[in-house]
Amino acid sequence: MKRSRSHRLRLPAIALVATAALAVAACSSSSSSSGSGTSSGSSSSAALTASAPGITATTITIGSHQPLTGPAAPGYSEIAPASAAYFAYVNANGGVDGRKIVYKYLDDGYNPTTTASVVRQLVLQDNVYAIFNGLGTPTHLAVESFLNAQKVPDVFVASGCDCWDQPSTDPETFGWQLDYIREGKILGQYIAQHFAGKKVAYFYQDDEFGMDGVKGLDMEIPKSMVVSRQSYVDTNVNIGPQVAALRASGAQVVVSFSIPAFTALLKLNSLKLGYSPTLVVSDVGEDPITLSGLLESFAKQGGATVNGNELTAGIISDGYLPTLGDPGNSWIALFKKVHDQYDAKAPFDGNVLYGEAAAYTFVQAMLKAGRNPTRADLVNAINAGLPQGPFVAPSAYSPTDHDGVTGAYIGVIDNGVLKPETPVYTTDTTATGAITTVPGTQPSAPTSGIPSP
């Protein structure tokens, strides 16, 4: 009887396996074969052709991985929609050489395994031309070697890790924002000059982000000034012990290389202990609007009411893009206009500015890459150097340097905006490299809002 039962069940079993096979096969309906990857001339009169994967006569399809959900989502999830808004503005005004940009960004929840999966989907199935502004250090590291092996341009990574600047091993990868070593140096010099004789402590995320920042700080701040070094991991929100240690060290200045959620936790935990040092926060962790929103919602969860703007006042930070507090600045005016037209539901904050500015740099690079660009043309165009664009300091792009912007100004948060206090400084990533002032003023934004070729 046992035999007969298993015999009877064999047919259903085969049917089930076949169903599974069909289910997987059905997913392939969107399998694509666009783009043949042949290079063609790029004179201005040439007809628009499908010159590379992801490029057709009418569109340029690019992809990205972004933390739309999960621990890094607060604030950072606004970046990709802001980039998409700027692309929509460019598309509505003639596009890039007549092609419209299609920006497909997928959620990776800040989990490297998911990043590996969604980026393969974008490259292998959706045949994107390039990966643009992939966000996060641990997440993007999971796909950097894959993208370089596939020769997919990996442009303007949304992370300040110095690891994107490896032109010899990862020629396709380019950074964009101020790298954390330069940022640490510039913040460090300011602290050494303005808080001489005071006790300084570090609070940093225990990964490349925090450690690069500390590396830069240590290049400028004398060891004798640093009384405590506390780190956190982004999966553990209980930072009470670290804050207690900071307080016990008697530090009068705390430098924080943290993501916004942990900057807010640092501030609230300090308040709880009646500890109020001067806070110096890395650009990635200080967007005043994101930060004050987080402070208010965290405090609410704890049953307290706080005024976010009051709590962020006095925080010292740096900026490599023009400050949102200067609506008269041509770049801020441009990005505000685009934001109001295409992304009005999001607050106009530092993350939105970031997303739009990165999109602007991408359009600059695409215009330089030529009329019918291959993937290599885009990489060569960036290697040949890009105009400064929305950055306050020049960018470093060259065949031997894949870092983005090289400098920033220092400012103090006042009433929800960063007010610049110093001229723009620029430096390199070495311990001996001098920190110098950027001469002249930043070129203003084009009136059309679209970079000139």
Partner: protein
Amino acid sequence: MTMRSLSLPRILGAALAGAAIVVILSIKLNTFRDYQIAEIAIYVTAIAGLTVLTGLSGQISLGNGAFMAVGAYTTALLMLHLGWPFIAVLVIAAIVTAAAGAVVGVAAARLHGPYLAGATLMLGVALPALANAYPGIFGGDQGLNVVYTAPGFLGASFPLTRWQAWVCSAVALVTLVLLANLARSRVGRNWRAVRDDEVAAALAGVNVARTRVLAFVVSATCAGMAGALLAIITALVAPGAYTITLSIALLTGAVIGGLGTLLGAIWGSLVIVLVPTYATDVATSHGLSTTVASNIPVAAYGVVLILVMLIFPQGIQGGLLWLLRLFGISAARPSHTASTTDAMPSAGETPARPHEKEGTQ
């Protein structure tokens, strides 16, 4: 398709059919689908081990994601520092995780129900954090890079993802064959005996503690191999990939598929890998706002879980068998119904039995 009802030739036949399907699909489909096949195979390997542990031996584990991390880090360290071939690395990873499983199993064998869940939950949360505690060895949050390429004889144009799909599917199928064979052997009978009534099993001469530890070792070994495979397909081993979410996803897959059935492990893996991708495609193609669209996959996952549990409390596999019986494909005989339910206990009923018994004494 209860595990007991299968003879060895049938198991091998099914595995060969599975291998043929994988090869055909991997050649027919695009390279990203190959990658998804590899992902599915990895989940099958891990969930099959878990479904045997929970469904057959009646122990719950919320820590199998941590065992995957053990396998993955073993793989990364061996390939990085010693440059061993993957097959050797896979064996070592399996052995190391088996040892870890034995250690945990000895403690776990003394615990039941929520206490066991709590202990394994702690493992799932704490173990991956070791990578942050010893960044010098484990690379901290940034993790370790793993370099894995397709063998040269396949030619330079052979897609790496197809090779990865083959390797992962081969490991998954071998695991399924071994587990199916184990489940119908004396070991499997002992597991079921212990699950159903520990006292009766002990009276019948079954060493209860050893049987329970063995189930943990088997489950951990499967998770370790899955971790090794995950390391080579993502080319990176970082703690962010092995959080408690992974452990819970494995248990979810086992429950959705049908606890205690190996075919259920396949259904569960299909749901875990494919539902989020489908939901993302649907959400983005309907022009929803970003905040809504990005949460659709998470919501879809929850909806599938709730629906399956409401409609098919015994998981997809249980539901499919019920449907097949409904349409008279296999005429229901009383003995058949009984043995099907027997092979697929729900998670809740298992730990309750000893207490019921105590109450009636």
